[in-house]
Symmetry: C2
Subunit: 139 residues, 2 copies
């Protein structure tokens, strides 16, 4: 299967990206209050990783009848100092919230994603140390 | 430097991602007309790649006083068939538009990005064959 995206320059270092599912602004430019005027490209790698594994897990816990009340995935990463800067270590934290969480099944969903389904984590393992942790919060 | 993103589940396989510069919806869910209801995570990898090198080039052609009238970067990639699916080959196409394009300097901007500055293309080279091509269109 082939995928394609387009990155079109508008001004300075601001671009409109068109990809599967929509368009968005990428930029390094800042507003007057120094807040970013669009998304930063490198962090999109981490969003791809968090999104890919999170979707696997959400599909799997539905199939396994282990749906929690809440779920999120945080990804944190260390960027090297020298050019070209890349992520050399990454941590994926899975948080499940709810009452009577089916912990064994939810852990299994995470394991299946990381070991079998999540292509983005497979790509990350080629250049970074990838760690993960699972948190269960009964609420 | 450390970067962090958050991927929060809303329903089915739909998530709100918060990262540097903003928030957006990631999903595999479709509208009734089968159009996507949000961005797809894997293609974000390609948008990160296109955005990263495009920003380098835009910074460089300004410094080199070689700014064209128009500029875009297309990224196309082949996804493997077996799980975990990953991008095994990637092509980056740079398009410069304008009159009297400073071709040598623009080519130099592309080379500098790919060889020195673009961390995302460095990461891609660890798992994919990365090719590039430069197109000049006098308008």
């Amino acid at each position: 299967m082939n995928h394609k995206i387009e990155t079109k320059w508008t001004e300075e270092t601001t671009f409109i990206v068109s990809q599967s599912g929509g368009q968005f602004v990428l930029t390094t430019d800042l507003n007057e209050d120094e807040s970013p005027r669009g998304l930063r490209p490198k962090a999109l790698m981490l969003s791809a990783l968090g999104g890919c594994t999170a979707m696997d897990v959400a599909s799997l816990f539905k199939k396994m009848r282990a749906t929690p009340d809440g779920f999120k995935v945080d990804v944190s990463a260390h960027l090297t100092e020298e050019n070209p800067k890349y992520y050399d270590s990454v941590k994926i934290d899975y948080y499940f919230y709810g009452k009577n969480l089916k912990r064994d099944k939810l852990q299994k969903c995470v394991d299946l994603s990381l070991e079998k389904y999540c292509g983005v984590s497979g790509m990350f393992r080629q250049f970074a140390k990838v760690q993960s942790e699972v948190f269960f919060e009964e609420i």
